[in-house]
Symmetry: C4
Subunit: 290 residues, 4 copies
């Protein structure tokens, strides 16, 4: 009983902690296994490969699935709080990496859902010691979050514009020129506005080409808007904050980044008196304050 | 009579105000109805659907149209100032959401104009309590407005460039390679410069491909210009609720919104000497200084 | 003789100055004429229109050409320094707007060069009182000029990359897959890297598609570089310059934008002595105001 | 023997130094030769040219190859430290510019690898006195390097997204609509997300077009992310040769490169108290050092 508990703890450290050599070896192995299983799923979809090695691939896929299933059960077993793990982000992903294989017994197409295993690859951040990188990602997320409102407004406006443009093109070009329905015309408007331009549907009438010109120039110009929003937010996130320093007289505690005087009461933030005295006790206090 | 007036008021609150529970329910219902009517208009344009459910869809469309017509009349009836509503932005949109159906009795194509109902969806900002978002939109508009001049200059220069490139390609490639006329070549230049690249018209001669290379590199490079303009303006708009007032001593000309003293030199921004005397001799000096 | 001179002066004012009513009327008329002549040149290139109105269009074109020729001669006649005008930017453009018509007597294709008249449209800046806009354009040019070096380095690096990618694709895909020669493969690399993507030439081998993926991701990522360069320069151009104010002690005359003290000698740039003398009871009143 | 040494030195100056007239002439000639050899390699790949001038081109190519081989040997001979040159960047490039021709005797395709000669063109920076430009390039590299972390995070996230989108499209569209395998669907996802949009593979089912819409809007929106990252870094790099040193009193932590006093509070950045204690005669020495 005690031994089992020790085993569980040892397993827990190996499986959940990356900072021990054993944990690191385990994570490396896991990532390679996931990668290999992804390659197998992909190859399985290539007809010429499937025709020759189909049965082998299916067998290998099942092997990987069983491996991941065992891993999932071990994780549940050794985790000190199994339920918390099971409903965590990684817990759900680990389950999703196994389930589709069993689902595929009923619906063959479900097998490709195994590709969700790619999400498990995000563990790579942990393995490659990329956690500082994640703080950078966090940085990006802050900028994204604070630009969320502007981006929602932007996307709603664009959606309205796209519906109007799409319908207009349907009316102008009509079914005889591949604009067979309003939804399809809206699809065309998205393809054009985002400057992707597949060319599977193109305007052929002069009026249609004129409207298309308008759509393209709109898309080309407003490519600026999300960029601008995001850049401005990121720059402001990177520039950081106002100067935090209580004014000695009025106690206003946040100032312009480069302020030398309080903008409310006009007194020097770093009084020259102290300066002239060459700040005798000062430096200690400053150090203490900090 | 009095009762009718009460009814009108109650209706007014329900229909025009979102901040009461009844008003909120009404707006939610309205948005769903608009969305449903949009879906019907779109489905109506899909041939296979129309073939099977054509008559049903037409009937439903008319039902929606009558519903919106009644809503429009009720809005006119219960609004305290009907004319002001009728000529407001939303009033016109509400009318436009109904008219095309009747117009379609004469010109069948007009029916698709019903898609303008999508603009009514902008009420969603109000329903989803997105009014703070609208202040963000306003923010974007400020940036757009103050970058208007630069963007006009940019668009005029680009238009000139596009006309020149388009004609050049017409001369080089000619009608035998799909560049059938100058307007069409200009359309091609727009498609290429905006990096959309449908591929319906492509250069085939060596010289044509060389010019196309030039067009593409131009477009790829100047994609920077509107972005740069907009970003710079947005950044300045976000910093922008600063106080614009030249400091009388050091001429620092932008300050914190509530600043009374210059944060650089500590002198009063609005010197009390001038202030008390209500600036008697002052104004001359100020004028002289300026 | 004297009368002629007066005429010349009057003509000079009408033709060269936009700020008189007569000059404005002349410029408006001129722009409309240029626009009309551009439309005629464009229509002339549309086969169906040419088939029906070919002779009429040719006649109208000649009429415009003669009109512009006369205008050019009048400009030469009434300008106080004809040679300076003739070799100015607008003088050369005015000549180029006429010459191709005569050239077309020898080489019919030259007729389309009449499209250079579009450059004359730049006078629109003057007519629409857009001269303040031009100062904005000047602003953009400053940013462009100061980012010139970085952009040259960028373009040279990209060109090298494109040549390498193009040749690689030629070796991989070969003539049997439309990559018929290295120059054409380079053209494909430009089309792909700039994210235009016509689709007239596409990789079909697996290796080719892998390299194409690389090219596309390169293009998608470095779309950032010119944007970033330009935006950074524009922002720095708009933020304007350092603080120009001679330090009262050491005479260092340019400082950080928000400097309160000289960073070289540490003396206050705007000494508090002056400050106190200027406004003695200052701080109380200022507090009261708040 | 002594004469040979002089010869070697003279050759060394001509070949390796651009700042003498003879060296400049040599470099100009070299660049022209490289350019000519590039043109020959390119022409050689154009079938119609090869058919007519094939033998001539082959001869010229061999001439260039021998020329470059001789140049390489001379460089090795006259360089004071031949091994260091041989393993330097330019040394390896110079070797690579010759080898493929001999390799092509065995594998004909290898001949096109001669295009690596294009990398030798980078010497153009030196010839055109573009070395200041290179400092600009260095500038760009600094911005790129400090944005590396964020870009790695971005690319990994995008890759995950692309794999998921690609597989989804394979499941939805299937082999009958050109999405023949998961790798090919991933290729399509890259083409679409980067807004290239060749149009060689396009979704035809309604659901597929809906997902494609999502992919395109994702690509169009996140085109912002690398731009934003890079711009923010470049802007900070351009501000970036500031002195990083926390002011002992107000903690302002970035100053003008040559600052001795804090521009915000006027206190000495390197207080003379500490200074004198540390190093008595210091200030003279510091001044001398500077």
């Amino acid at each position: 009983m005690h031994e089992a508990s020790t085993w569980r703890q040892r397993l827990y450290v190996i499986i959940f902690h990356t900072d021990t050599p054993a944990g690191q070896r385990f994570d490396n192995l896991l990532l390679l296994t996931i990668l290999a299983s992804l390659v197998v799923v992909m190859l399985d979809s290539v007809e010429s490969v499937f025709a020759r090695y189909g049965e082998l691939l299916t067998a290998v896929e099942w092997a990987f699935t069983l491996l991941f299933a065992v891993e999932y059960l071990v994780r549940l077993y050794c985790s000190p709080r199994p339920l918390k793990y099971a409903f965590s982000f990684y817990g759900l992903i680990d389950l999703l990496a196994v389930l589709p294989a069993f689902l595929a017994l009923l619906f063959p197409e479900a097998q490709y859902l195994l590709i969700v295993r790619v999400i498990r690859m995000l563990r790579i951040f942990r393995v490659l010691k990329l956690t500082p990188y994640l703080s950078q990602a966090n940085f990006l997320l802050v900028a994204l979050r604070s630009s969320k409102q502007k981006i929602v407004v932007f996307l709603l406006s664009i959606s309205t514009l796209i519906v109007v443009y799409g319908t207009l093109m349907y009316v102008i070009e009509g079914p005889q020129n591949d604009f067979t329905s309003i939804p399809k015309s809206i699809y065309w408007a998205v393809v054009t506005l985002t400057t992707v331009g597949f060319g599977d549907i193109v305007p052929v009438t002069v009026l249609g080409q004129a409207v298309a010109t308008l759509v393209m120039i709109t898309g080309y110009s407003i490519i600026a808007v999300p960029t601008g929003i995001f850049t401005a937010e990121l720059a402001s996130a990177m520039r950081g904050d106002l100067l935090s320093h209580a004014c000695p007289r009025c106690a206003k505690d946040s100032h312009e980044p480069a302020a030398a005087f309080c903008s409310r009461c006009g007194s020097a933030l770093f009084p020259p008196g102290e300066h002239e005295a060459d700040a005798p006790a000062n430096s200690h206090e400053a150090a203490a304050k900090k």
